[in-house]
Symmetry: C3
Subunit: 263 residues, 3 copies
């Protein structure tokens, strides 16, 4: 059995500094989510400083949500720096199927072999090159349909791929697992998917096995969502209760509540 | 009598993909407001992808809140693409009276004939060329003072103009109406005006009569504000309750609660 | 005894227009914090309009949180315009120790002699040139360790320096005071430090003695935090209650609750 409780405690003690290059919609939510969890977020994206900042960060996340050429340069610099330094990093190919600009940028970043690639089913399918699908920012495909795509990306990058949805699928090309924690209101709060990247990165930063760290991160996040859903009256109060639940999560409760199915 | 209930149901069933080029302050709120209402928001502003994205979006909003030259280029590209494709779009000339840079940009965008132009009284007066006024981002004029300016913009663009304030005025140059829903705390929560553009656009996207769609959008938004005001202790709890109210709004309650006065 | 009550009333009556150049993470929170307090925030950062906007604003804040070359140009233009016009302005050197790009930018801005320089202990120490420390965005040093650095910056700029932390230290090079209001959850909500700049600027805008205005701003902010902490279940509900407390703060309660120690 995986030691989710020990991993949460270790992350909170380390309070890892995680550098995030993410979209404008997500920045505030992501920072609050990470602070609530006990990590130390920093939003640094300019080409002029990403590489230098990367040397002091314990992990990196890159999300292509709101792109411009200057940001793409910063993303490539940061991915390169993380890759060379062996710093774990997470790629989120938001809406990769929406425009060719996004597709090309995501492929450039993928070449730096992210430790974890996380997206919804439509994004993972498009990113794998298997099909053009899911043009918007929401998922239009079920997680089930993205398994082959996820495995193919895992093989290409040598990293983990997490397909998130009603139930999350995680593969490193060899090991595979499903994480069933979560709540149906979560997609109605913007940027909770983007913010999850920061939680995954914070767990990766503890230096633990990346596959296990990813599973614990997803279970912790989803379980906090379940707790928030118990009192929420709608997406507004859900978002508030979710931050409280992330901060208040007891390690033992996580250990008991994680719904992992290894396959 | 207008079928507000049917229009809300239709919008939620369609869950239209709306492309938004808005300011940094508003992006997160706008996305949450639109998700709560049942629409599908996407924040896409880069010149490199706006036109391509416009081909898959059902509506567009442009807000000049935080301008830079690259963003202005993206806005013009997007307005042009929407105009050529016949995609409905909403222009919000935030603080158009504050600097000449804003004024020029707003006039460039207005030339692409927005389906709906929405602003506070000061912004609509300045935009019409009638006077220099309202240099800040808040309204310093009453809605009453902006009627002639609104009609003149409606004639010039062939579109709708909505002047929002304590009571909202809507004109398409021929038909006119007042919408009295709303709550006095709303101006104390940042970007609720900006986020309203997305709700107007979502209703426009259903292909309904644009004048009627705009009225329903304003009534729905204001009524959700009234509901939020019943429990709010201040602007923080108001913002939370407002999202819950948008999501939980019953179509029949909207039909009963809309306060429309046609003139 | 300082007239905190009168100062809060005066600020709310003036509802000063404050121009803010701040980071993407903070923009929304800052606007909401300022609106809740009764000020009128405007986020204007483009080189094309900062100087013109500066002529209508009653105060300015600059925060180096998310830098790019174009933004640095806008910051320098704005600081220059404020300095020449005698408009009070606040500098926040976020994470100045993290990269040389930040350090150089902060030094360029400091040369325009901010009315108030506000940062955590690590930032103030680095900014003074005394040491390289505190590479992340959070403080790694106690306020106590930054007193000499704060005094040295106050002498160099002829302005106020506020070092915020568990207890806040304020100096103008001659007068000194400690402000003990606040709540331990505050650092777990992102951008509350950044947003504080706007409150300080709003009080400065009333034209009062800048040292006294800064102290009142810090006491008001911290006391609202104390009130929020009475009901909060975690950082999510704290952020909501904090906005409500800023808006609902009674002037007499501020007068009674301010914890100022002059030294």
């Amino acid at each position: 059995m995986s030691d989710h409780a020990g991993r949460l405690d270790a992350m909170r003690i380390a309070a890892p500094l995680v550098q995030n290059i993410t979209n404008y919609v997500a920045m505030n939510v992501m920072a609050n989510v990470m602070l609530a969890a006990g990590a130390s977020p920093a939003m640094v994206h300019a080409r002029e400083e990403v590489a230098e900042f990367a040397t002091i960060a314990s992990a990196l996340t890159i999300n292509i949500g709101t792109l411009t050429p200057a940001w793409v340069d910063g993303m490539v610099e940061a991915a390169k720096a993380a890759s060379e330094a062996g710093t774990p990093w997470v790629l989120d190919p938001v809406a990769v199927g929406a425009t060719s600009y996004r597709y090309k940028t995501a492929q450039r970043l993928l070449a730096f072999n992210p430790t974890v690639t996380r997206g919804n089913a439509s994004e993972i399918i498009v990113l794998s090159g298997a099909a053009k699908t899911g043009k918007g920012v929401g998922a239009t495909d079920d997680v089930d349909r993205a398994l082959l795509a996820a495995r193919s990306i895992a093989q290409r990058t040598g990293g983990i791929v997490a397909v998130t949805g009603a139930e999350d699928f995680v593969t490193d090309g060899t090991r595979e697992a499903w994480v069933a924690n979560g709540h149906p209101i979560m997609p109605a709060v913007t940027a909770l998917g983007c913010a999850l990247n920061g939680i995954v990165a914070a767990f990766l930063a503890t230096g633990d096995d990346a596959f296990e760290a990813t599973i614990t991160a997803l279970a912790y996040y989803g379980l906090a969502g379940e707790q928030a859903g118990e009192t929420a009256q709608g997406p507004g109060s859900f978002a508030v209760a979710f931050l409280d639940a992330l901060a208040g999560m007891d390690a033992d409760r996580l250990q008991a509540g994680a719904k992992i199915r290894r396959v």
